[in-house]
């Protein structure tokens, strides 16, 4: 975010989640920008340490759910009140609101349906996940027991390499941006 010039990237491989978390905190406090960490499982507190913003997917889910609720209200109003009102078990059908208690189950189900499915589609879209997509992790070991960190190179490469070695990196390599 906000980086207009593309610095080369240095990749460092770790084999412990606590070590990688400590390394991220250390590098950040020394002015480095940790642009990415690939890990086999979610590391608690990593997003905060990297300075990532909160995801807005849950807010989106709320509005998706609201859409479902409105859709269900409109659907039951249109079919049961407007288009062809019928006397069903003597239930009031002159106004949608009077008949509404019977529609609560469907309104609830469609709220959940819209919220869950649209949120998942959004999740796939923002993560660029789709069937057959190329693996996004550069090193296959990061789905097993390794952790790959990408740091933007600022200043001398030797300084950063030394720093990463001190922080417990097993392998260090440079990638031109």
């Amino acid at each position: 975010m906000g980086h207009t010039k593309h610095n080369p990237i240095v990749r460092a491989l770790f084999n412990d989640d606590d070590v990688v978390l400590g390394a991220v905190k250390d590098l950040r406090s020394n002015g480095y920008h940790v642009s990415e960490v690939y890990s086999p499982f979610p590391i608690h507190g990593l997003d905060e340490a990297m300075g990532l913003k909160r995801t807005r997917l849950s807010t989106a889910a709320f509005f998706y759910g609201l859409t479902g609720l409105f859709f269900a209200s409109w659907l039951t109003y249109y079919t049961m009140t407007l288009d062809w009102p019928q006397n069903i078990g003597g239930k009031p059908n002159a106004y949608w609101f009077l008949n509404m208690p019977s529609f609560i189950p469907v309104m609830f189900e469609l709220t959940v349906f819209f919220a869950a499915h649209l949120m998942c589609w959004s999740y796939f879209a923002v993560n660029k996940l789709y069937p057959g997509a190329k693996a996004q992790n550069p090193d296959p070991r990061t789905t097993d027991d390794h952790f790959l960190m990408e740091v933007e190179l600022e200043g001398e490469e030797a300084d950063l390499t030394k720093k990463l070695q001190e922080l417990g990196a097993l392998e260090i390599s440079k990638v031109e941006a």
Partner: protein, 462 residues
């Protein structure tokens, strides 16, 4: 950060590293199927084929091939429907409710429990479809514009609520399951050697890379889905119970049905999870991950929900007496002492009496005993639905119409067929999918792994 009280037993046994977890969970997918798997699969497949034959016979000839008559016009089909939906509930309960309650022991069992949910809801969905008779008209349950003077479906009907509830439940459970599966498919993709296998898991894993932002979204989506699935699972069996409770049949027209059905669903679902996982952990050597701790926890849930069901049975009897309505009173007297007394007392024995053994720690940590009880509970829960449905309608308001129900070979064949279909799906799943949510499990290794806990106890927290 990775500290857990020594009071809690370890959830991952043995001296495990992250890599050991990967290897152990990828093993069933990468190795040849054990002999026991082929035997089980063959039996299930034959049962499935028999069921397909009976379904085709029903569709080709008509519902008349079942044992229904004009008094008992709902019997095994709806019994099986409710039974299968109920079994499905434990999967969602484990993955959603236990996630909200932060119960770590769910992590070893949620994947298989959710698979069980999806496969059993598929079985459940078959019954209303077949019972329509003209299955090619099934799309009429959807509110779609049509040429019959815009004749819409009836949104006042609990049967239509069921259509919405079951389809929402099935599809939402499937995406919940799949979102969790993606990182584990990626794990198999990244270690696959066989190019065909690698390609298949590449397609299934959607390109997952495990970036920090993606994990952050993953956790948020899992939490929100759990929050949505929790009321959803309660609503589904509530709505199933409305199919009965909103009618005016004595024995059905009761307000206790929703909570009573939900408790029964969780009860039978946990029993089915026990049955399946006791086999899976043995065949695929997952004893370190699904251990006595997990079995015991599930047995406690079975004991509690079984007792809730027992209270519901007794409440029903009391209310029938207290209501002063003679039809209601007769319905319950007839259940317990009428011609179907054996079904009623099988239900009582299996569901209320048998789970009480779980008060004993020795029995609830015994694997063979657990396995037997898990099957007894599912037999009992089938009888519960049979008792509610058939004994309530076989003697109606008009004694000249009283009759009995006896199933034909087609009724039995379709039921056996769905059991076969369920196991065909589950066995295929167990060979090709990571049966334990390994990415999630790795997050608790340092707090709940036996080796790490021992290290903490000896050296103190760091």
């Amino acid at each position: 950060m990775h500290y857990e009280s020594p009071v809690r037993n370890p959830l991952i046994l043995g001296d495990k590293s992250y890599s050991d977890i990967t290897n152990d969970i990828a093993k069933p997918v990468e190795s040849k199927a054990p002999r026991a798997w082929w035997i089980a699969f063959s039996i299930a497949f034959v049962m499935f084929l028999w069921g397909v034959g009976c379904i085709l016979y029903t569709i080709g000839t008509g519902i008349g091939v079942w044992g229904l008559n004009k008094t008992v016009d709902w019997a095994w089909d709806i019994t099986n429907f409710v039974w299968w939906v109920g079994i499905g509930h434990a999967g969602t309960l484990i993955s959603a409710v236990l996630l909200l309650f932060r119960q770590k022991w769910r992590m070893a069992i949620n994947r298989s429990a959710e698979a069980m949910t999806i496969f059993s809801v598929i079985q459940a969905g078959l019954f209303p479809l077949i019972h329509m008779g003209r299955i090619w008209m099934a799309y009429w349950v959807m509110p779609i514009p049509n040429q019959f003077g815009s004749l819409w479906v009836n949104f006042n009907s609990p049967l239509l609520w069921d259509v919405f509830a079951i389809s929402t439940y099935l599809t939402v459970s499937t995406v919940f399951w799949y979102v969790g599966l993606i990182p584990d498919f990626a794990m198999i993709r990244d270690r696959a050697i066989n190019p065909v296998q690698k390609h298949i898991y590449k397609i299934l894993s959607f390109g997952w890379g495990g970036q920090a932002k993606h994990w952050q979204r993953f956790e948020e989506v899992s939490l929100v889905l759990a929050g949505l699935a929790t009321p959803l699972v309660l609503s589904v069996h509530t709505i199933v119970s409305f199919d009965f409770a909103t009618s005016v049949i004595p024995g059905w027209h009761t307000t206790i049905f929703p909570p009573y059905f939900v408790a029964g669903a969780i009860f039978s679902g946990f029993a089915m999870v026990q049955t399946l996982l006791l086999i899976v952990r043995k065949i695929f050597k997952m004893e370190d991950y699904i251990n006595i701790e997990h079995i015991e926890m599930m047995n406690i849930v079975i004991m509690v929900t079984g007792s809730i069901v027992g209270v519901a049975y007794i409440t029903e009897l009391f209310i029938a007496w207290y209501s002063g309505v003679e039809y209601e009173q007769y319905a319950f007297l007839n259940r317990a002492t009428g011609p179907y007394w054996w079904a009623y007392w099988s239900m009582m024995t299996c569901n209320v009496f048998s789970p009480q053994f779980m008060w004993s720690k020795k029995l609830r940590t015994n694997l063979i005993f657990t396995f037997v009880i898990s099957i007894v509970v599912n037999i009992g829960m089938w009888f519960e639905r049979f008792v509610i449905i058939v004994t309530s309608i076989h003697r109606d308001y008009l004694p000249s119409s009283w009759s009995m129900f006896s199933p034909t070979f087609v009724d039995i064949g379709i039921y056996i067929g769905t059991i076969g279909f369920f196991f065909v799906l589950f066995l295929l799943y167990a060979r090709t999918f990571p049966v334990i949510a390994q990415a999630e499990l790795k997050t608790i290794l340092k707090s709940s792994g036996e080796n790490f806990k021992k290290h903490h106890d000896e050296h103190g927290a760091h």
